[in-house]
Symmetry: D2
Subunit: 346 residues, 4 copies
C-alpha cells in the first residue's frame, strides 16, 4: 500500500466536512493535510468539532491557501462546487464532492427539483455517483466522485434489489423519510433553535423534495417514487419507510431472495427482519455513528402491500462514510477501512 495519501477538505467546519475529517483522521491510509474554513480561520478544528480534541493539531486554513494533495474533498453549500470547480481541479487528481452539484446527469430532473438550469452541464459526464452498491465498478477508476444525498441513499438502498429484480407492481411507491436535525447543517436559525425544535415532529417537505431527483435517476427504470420528509428531533439518523405493492405472483420468499442476491456480499448492508427480540426492524439508533444501512421489510399477505424499511446515519452512510467507502473502492483499499465503528448499545 505504500505511504499514506494526503487529503484536504474544503469547508471543514460544517457537519459533512467535519464527519469526513473525523473518519479521515482514523483512516490508516489517509493523512489530512488541510481543512479550510473562512469563518474559523486559524482556529483549531477541535474548537468546532470538540470530539477531535487531542486527536489532531490541525487548524482551519483559508481556501485560497490550499496546496496540492492527492485527494480533495469539497464540502460546500449546494451550488458552490459547480461554480468554483475550476479553482480546485488543479489541486488534486481525485476530487470528491459532498454536495448535490454533480449527482445528476438528467438535466430535466435537475431543473425540475433545483429550480434552475445546471451551471456546468459540460462537467457532469466525468462524475460517478458515490454509491458502491450500485456503481462499484465505475468507482474503481473514477477521479470525480459525486457523493450521494442522505435521504436518497436511504431510499435507493432500501428499494434497489426489488426494483432491479422486477418485484414491484407498476404504480407509485410512497417513501417517507424521517430525518434528523443535523441534516439541515451547522447554521443556526429559528427553525433549529432548540426550544422550538426539541420534541417536534414536522412534515417539513411533504412534496417536492430535491432528493427525489437522485432517486429517480439512479434507481433502474426510474420508478415513480414519491418522497415525503418528516423532521424528527433526533440529531443523526434516517428511518425510511416505503409503501407499495408486490407484483402479482411474487411472495416473501422472492423478496428475501432479491435482497440476498443483490446484497449478499455487501459489507455495509444488513438485512434486519427478526422474529424475536425488541430490535426486529432497522432503527437509526442502532446504526448511529456507523456506515451501515440496515434494510428490512414486511409483506401483507392478503393484499400484497409491501413496506420496506431502511435506517442509516445521515452523516456517515448518508454522507461522509459513503464517501470514504467510495474512496476505498477507488484506491483499491479494503472497502471497510476507517469505517469499523460498530455503533453503541444502548
Amino acid at each position: 500500500m505504500g505511504e499514506k495519501k494526503t487529503v484536504s477538505i474544503v469547508g471543514g467546519s460544517g457537519y459533512a466536512g467535519g464527519e469526513f475529517l473525523r473518519l479521515a483522521l482514523g483512516h490508516p491510509y489517509l493523512e489530512v493535510k488541510q481543512v479550510t474554513s473562512r469563518r474559523y480561520l486559524g482556529d483549531p478544528v477541535s474548537l468546532v468539532h470538540p470530539n477531535l480534541r487531542g486527536r489532531t493539531n490541525l487548524k482551519f486554513t483559508d481556501p485560497a491557501s490550499l496546496e496540492p494533495c492527492d485527494i480533495l474533498v469539497l464540502a460546500m453549500p449546494h451550488g458552490v462546487a459547480a461554480k468554483e470547480l475550476e479553482k480546485y481541479r488543479g489541486l488534486a487528481p481525485i476530487i470528491l464532492d459532498l454536495s448535490a452539484d454533480f449527482r445528476l446527469k438528467n438535466l430535466d430532473l435537475y431543473k425540475k427539483y433545483y429550480g434552475e438550469d445546471h451551471p456546468r452541464p459540460d462537467l457532469l459526464g466525468q462524475w460517478v455517483y458515490g454509491n458502491p452498491e450500485l456503481y462499484r465498478e465505475a468507482l474503481k477508476t473514477a477521479d470525480r466522485i459525486a457523493c450521494c444525498g442522505c435521504n436518497a441513499t436511504a431510499v435507493i438502498l432500501g428499494l434497489y434489489p426489488l426494483v432491479r429484480e422486477g418485484l414491484l407492481a407498476a404504480g407509485p411507491i410512497f417513501a417517507t423519510v424521517m430525518i434528523s436535525t443535523s441534516a439541515a447543517g451547522a447554521e443556526p436559525s429559528l427553525a433549529s433553535h432548540h426550544p422550538e425544535r426539541a420534541g417536534s415532529l414536522r412534515a417539513y417537505k411533504p412534496t417536492g423534495h430535491r432528493h427525489t431527483a437522485e432517486i429517480r435517476e439512479h434507481l433502474p427504470g426510474s420508478p415513480e417514487v414519491h418522497l415525503t420528509a418528516v423532521a424528527t428531533d433526533r440529531v443523526r439518523g434516517i428511518l425510511m419507510t416505503a409503501q407499495t405493492f408486490l407484483r402479482a405472483g411474487f411472495t416473501e420468499k422472492d423478496v428475501w431472495a432479491a435482497y440476498r442476491k443483490v446484497y449478499g456480499a455487501e459489507p455495509f448492508i444488513r438485512i434486519v427482519k427478526l422474529k424475536k427480540g425488541i430490535h426486529r426492524y432497522p432503527d437509526p439508533a442502532v446504526v448511529e455513528g456507523t456506515n451501515y444501512c440496515d434494510v428490512g421489510f414486511e409483506l401483507e399477505e392478503d393484499t400484497g402491500r409491501l413496506v420496506v424499511i431502511s435506517a442509516i446515519d445521515n452523516l456517515v452512510k448518508g454522507t461522509a462514510g459513503h464517501a470514504i467507502q467510495s474512496l476505498n473502492v477507488r484506491m483499491g483499499w479494503p472497502e471497510t477501512l476507517g469505517l469499523e465503528f460498530p455503533g453503541l448499545h444502548p
Copy 2:
C-alpha cells in the same frame, strides 16, 4: 345546569384512565366519585399520577366496591370490557368505554384485525363511536359511548372531509402514524425500557395494525386505507401523514373548501397550512396536553399527489379528551368544557 354529575373510573392507574381522571377533576360539572385499581388499592391516586398531588385526596378503590354513579368510565385492557360488561351495566346509566371492544359493528373487520370472534356481538348495536366530528347527533342521546382509538382518530380526522366530499382518487391511501411511547401503556417491558427506547425510531407495526379496522368502518365508503405505525420516542403525540392522489379535476381550492365546509364549526379542529413562520404544518409538540386535532395538507400540482398531515395528543384527543368531548355532547354541556388548556410554547 344544576348539580354536578358523579363519575367513576374503572382502571384508573393506567395512562388513559389517569388522563380521564385529570380532565374530570378540572371539569366544572363532573365530580369524581371512585377510581379503581387492584394493584394500587388504597394508595392515593397521586402516587401513580404525580401531577395530581394536591389536587385530590382520592384513593384507589377495589372494582368490587364500586357504587352507583351517573357516569361510568371503563379504562381496562382490550377485551376485558366486553367480557365483564354485565358487572358494570347496572352501576350507571351512561357508560364510556376507552378500549377497542365496542368500536366496530363490522364483525368481519373485528375478526380480521383482532384475530378472534367478538365475544359479545349482541351488545354492539347499543354503542356509538365517540367521535363528535362524525357522530355528534347520535352522541346526543347515546348511553353507551365507545371511545376512539388514538391512531384511528388521527387518520379519520385527517381524511374525513376529503373522503366525504369525494375528492380522493380511487385507489389506496397510505397512512403513516408516528406514535409515542405512552401509547403502549403503563406496563414496563424491555421494549419500553428507557435505554432501549430513547432515541429509537421503530417501524413497530408496518402492516396489520388493528386501528385499520376502525378507520375502514368509520370513514364513509370504507376507502382502502393502509396503515403503517412507526414508534418515535416522544412520550405523547401522533403525527399522521397520508399519501394519495386527488381525483382528476380537483384543485387545492377544493381541498380547502372541503375542510372548511366540514370542519368550519368544529371547536377542536384547526386547519394548519401556513406560508410563513416555522410552524407551518401540524406538529404533535404544539397540541401536547390539548384536545386539538391540527390538520394540514400539501398538494403536488403536477401529479395530483396529496399529502394530508394531522397531529393530536394520543391521550387527549386520541383518548380521554375525545371522551370528555363526547360526554359534553351527550350531556348537552358546552362542548369545550374541561378541555380549555391551549398547550405550551415552547
Copy 3:
C-alpha cells in the same frame, strides 16, 4: 369582581411574554388589549406562539402605539425596562416587569453581578419583589411588581423556611440549578442550535451567576449561597439541589416542621418526599406547565448534611405564572386564578 381588567404586554414575542399572554388569555378577569413586537409587527401572535391558534385574533402591535390599560407587563431584555420606564409609566397604574431590572435594592450586589451601576437607583424603592411566598402583604398594595428570576425562585423557595427558622448551620450553601433551554430566550444562536444542544449537559455558569444577587438579597440574613448553573436539554424546567449542613441539635422532624409552618397554607408549594412510588422527590417533568414549586429534602443522619431539592417550570412559577400569582394578590383575586393547569402524566 366587576368587569375585566385590561392588560397589555410589551415584548410579547419572547418566551416570557408569550407565556404571560397564554396565562392572561385563560384568566377570567383579564382581557389582553395589546401585545407588542417590533419584529413581528402586524403578524398574528399565533404565528410565533402556535399554541394560541384559534384562541385569539390578536396581532402584534408597535410599542409606540400602546394605549392606556389597567395593567402593563414589561417583557423586555435585561436593562431596557429601567432605561425606558418613563415611556411606559403613564400608560397604566399597575406595572409588572419580568426582567431583572428592579429586583434588587442592594446597589452593591447589582454592581457586582451585573457589572455596572444601576441606571435608575431612584426608582428601586417603589418596586416589590413578585414573590407572594415572601412578600404577600407588600404585594397587596404594590403598583410596581418586579417579577423574580427563575433560578432565584427555585433556590429561594427551596431554602426560605430553613433559613427563616434558623435551621441551617453557618457556612456556605452550595446550590446547583439544572436549567433548560427556554431559559436562554427565543433568539437563535450556535449554542442553542439543536444539533449542538440536544443531549448536552453543560456547566454553563459554574460561578458568578447573576441570580445569586437576588438570592442573597431576598433570603433572610443574606446567607452565603453559591450558585452553579448546569444546562440540560429539557425545554422547560429547573431542578435545584442545595447542599449544606443542619445546625447541630436539629433533626428531620424540625425540617418537616419548618416547611409545614411556613408553607402549610401556600397554594403552589407542595412538599414532596415520599417513601414509595417512583416519583419520590421534586421533578421538573411533573410540574411542567404548572405554577407549582415542589420542594423536598434528604438528611444524612450521621453527618447532618442536608440536601434540599426543588423543581419548577422556569416559564411559569419561574416567570409568568409567578407574575400572575402576584397580580392576583395585588388585585384581591383568588390567588390560583388562571393557574389551574395541573400538569401532565406521563
Copy 4:
C-alpha cells in the same frame, strides 16, 4: 505481540458486559471466546446487542460450560462475584471484575455503604483498583483487577490532582453526579419505563450513594467528599460538578499546574476550559462512546470557590473502557489499543 489472547465474559447480556464485548471484538489482540447468559442461552449476542449484527457469530453460552481462557471478565450483579469467585478462579490466570465487589479494602467503608459485612475479606488483598491514572504501576502485574464504579471514576479523576497536590482547603467537597439511564442496567422496571423516565430529572440518591466509599478510599487522604446523584434522561454519560474552596494562597495558575503535572501524559484525560466557542467545559455528549474523561474547572477569584467539572461515558471510561485500558496496562500493550473511537459531533 504474538498471538491473540482469549477472553470470556460472564454475564454478557447486560450493558457493562455488552460494552466490554463490543470493545473486545474491536481489539486487535483479543479474541472473544465465550459470552454467557442464562436468560438468552443459545441466542446470538446480536439479538440483545443489535450493534453487533454482522460483527460476530457468537452465541450466549451457559456459565456452567465455560472453558479455560487467558482472561476472564466478570460482569455480574453486585455481590455475585465475591460469592462465586471460587467457580471462576481456575478458568483464567487474569480476572477482571466489573462489579463493586472488590473495589474496597476498607471493610468499614464497605459495611457502611453496602449495609453488610464483606463476604470474602480474605480475597480483597489480591485485587488492584482498575484505574490506570492512580494505579498504573500496580496494574502492570495485577492478575485481579477490580474495575471502577462509573460515578466514582468521574469524581476521582476530577479531583485527584488537586487532592494529591494539596490545593484544596480543609472541609467538605460537595460532588454532584448527573447520571444517565443505562447506569441502572438492562432490567426493565417502572422507574425505567420510557413514558415515566423520559424528560425527568430526578434526585435519585441525594445522600448515601455507595460510590462515596470508593471515592473516599482511593482519593489520597480520604477527603470529606459528599455525593449527590441526579438522574437525567440521557442514555449514557455522567457530568460531575464538585464544589469546594481552594486553600488560601493558591490561584488558578496552581490549579492548571496541578492538572498538567499529574495528567500531562495521560492518554485519556483532556483538560477542557476554553475561552471561546460553545464547548468550553466538559460535556458527556462530547465523550459519548469514548474512553475520555474531560476535566475542567472554574475559580471564583474573590471567594476562592472552585467548581471542578468532569464528563465521561459511564459505560466506557466509567466501566468497560477503563477495564480495557487497565488490561492494556497489565498486558504491556499500547494503552489506547481498542479505545480509539473519538466520539461524534454533532
